[in-house]
Amino acid sequence: MWFLVPFLLVFAVTILAPVIYAVGLSLFRDRLVGGISFVGFDNYAQAFTDEKFHEGLLRVCAFLVVQVPVMLVLALVAALAIDSGRLAGASFYRVAVFVPYAVPGVVAVLMWSFLYSDRFGLAGNLNDLLGFDLLKPLADEWILPSIGNIVTWEYVGYNMLIFYSALRTIPEELYEAAAVDGAGPLRVVGSIKLPALRGAIVIATIFSIIGSFQLFNEPNILRSSAPGLIPTYFTPNMYAFNLSFLGQQANYAATLAIIMGVVTAVIAYIVQVRGSRQETQ
């Protein structure tokens, strides 16, 4: 067990201690008059009536409900296509689709914000060509889908690879048996491949949900291209960040971080329980 000690020490410093510290912070409040005082669950009560927090939370929920299924279905299609044995040069497609994952998020957002820009991006080029503004990725009503596109671009290959790896573990005998039974390719997908992917789909869904609730990098970097469209409380994470760094409200920011952590953990847990229950049926 001594092998585990170094990990546990750093784990205690970087994960356990901040969690405990955050819980402690969330129970206090620092007022201009009167200094630091114990307020019990007042900060949590404040979060329940805080419209900025609710707006951010609803926004990431809307984002999650659309972006995660779109991305996972795309990843699934790509994995099944690459695994189908009916593509020439399948390994080229696999690497090409995966490449964006290795691109730093900052660079991904910078590239896409250039592409989105109507001054010198492809969106602008296309609009010039058509003579009217067909694409306005940085307009108010399109900003969330535009962010969704960036996140999908970054992570679809990663999820594809998780699915693809799971597909490669299906024993060859199953395919042979299916061929003997005269099952067509769609039957094989429906009765062999998709059931074998269930575990991988649950894992990918959980990671994607965690990622959506944490949404920060993409909107925060896009702010420099479209500052008016993305308020400082665009997502709960941005709100917490700005509260603690610009607003000097560390206690309330810690409270929001804890609420988001609990919400994420609960939803991840539900997905996992539901996913594994269906598996045993």
Binding site: A17, W153, E172, A179, G199
Partner: protein, 293 residues
């Protein structure tokens, strides 16, 4: 578990190529590579041509080498300094994370000790804690300790990878026969020696996978250095590029988008090369992890 990195599966009767699937995948590849193609083309343009020409075609004088030179020398070569910082954070952070995960995962897989189940539950639970939710409390704690705005503020939190530990744990359970360890003990080898001479070798593909993903995570790290660092001399590439980009946004600002674009290209080349050259490792390691979900 398959340890063969590139298993050959013979599909029955060499199925015909599918046109529909090929079209779908070509579209996928275009979507995945289009922004990168734009980046490469744009890195050959001057600041003026960037604004006035069509994005996917080269235009104006070929300014790539000039852009690279400007990127590397702008502001007294701060880009190279950021590059060095990124290297430091990657080597110390990702290297340390990989070593700790390898040791810890091995310990969890191959030894029993009281409280093991609790330890394991806590670590698995930690995977679900959003990293960014931790970042704000970690910052507040580190600023109490006087660690913010030092390299330690970036390195220490990078050292822990619960997911990496999990991957090594799964991998070690399958890859290292307990009998082999017993035999080595009979020969009088100590545990540390067994780990470094026998086990680590068998763990290599799993550890390489964990290492590669840790490298990507630290190379691409944005949120942590963003909150921890205020001194541009300590910035990694990601924060530095964002700084350059935001310089072009203000009124009356002097945009240096050509440097942002060329810098972005220079930032992704090493990490892409690492991925391409280590393909066989991460692909086999990932499939090992996905079996045991």
């Amino acid at each position: 578990m398959r340890r063969n990195p590139s298993p050959v599966r013979s599909h029955p009767a060499r199925q015909r190529r599918s046109v529909i699937l090929t079209v779908v995948m070509v579209l996928f590849v275009i979507y995945s590579l289009l922004p990168l193609a734009w980046l490469v083309v744009s890195s050959t343009k001057t600041q003026n041509d960037l604004l006035s020409s069509f994005g996917l075609f080269p235009s104006g004088p070929f300014a790539f080498f000039d852009n690279v030179k400007q990127t590397l020398t702008h502001d007294n070569g701060i880009f190279l300094r950021w590059f060095g910082n990124t290297l430091l954070y990657v080597i110390a952070g990702a290297g340390g994370a990989t070593l700790l995960a390898a040791l810890g995962g091995y310990g969890l897989a191959k030894f029993s000790f009281p409280g093991k189940r609790i330890v394991f539950a806590i670590i698995l639970g930690a995977i679900a804690i959003p990293g960014t939710a931790l970042a704000v409390p970690t910052f507040l704690m580190f600023s109490r300790l006087g660690l913010t705005n030092t390299v330690w503020a970036v390195i220490i939190p990078s050292l822990v990878s619960p997911f990496g530990l999990y991957l090594v744990w799964v991998y070690a359970g399958e890859a290292i026969p307990t009998e082999l360890m017993e035999a080595a003990r009979m020969d009088g080898a100590g545990e540390v020696r067994i780990f470094f001479t026998i086990s680590l070798r068998l763990l290599a593909p799993g550890v390489a996978t964990v290492g590669l993903f840790a490298i990507v995570a630290t190379w691409n790290n944005y949120f942590l250095p963003l909150i921890m660092l205020s001194d541009p001399d300590l910035y990694p590439l990601t924060i530095g590029l964002q700084l350059w980009n935001s310089q072009g946004a203000g009124i009356g600002a002097q945009p240096i988008f050509n440097l942002v674009i060329t810098g972005a290209l220079l930032t992704i080349i090493p990490i892409l090369l690492a991925f391409l050259f280590m393909q066989r490792y991460w692909q086999s390691g990932l499939s090992a992890g996905s079996v045991k979900q």
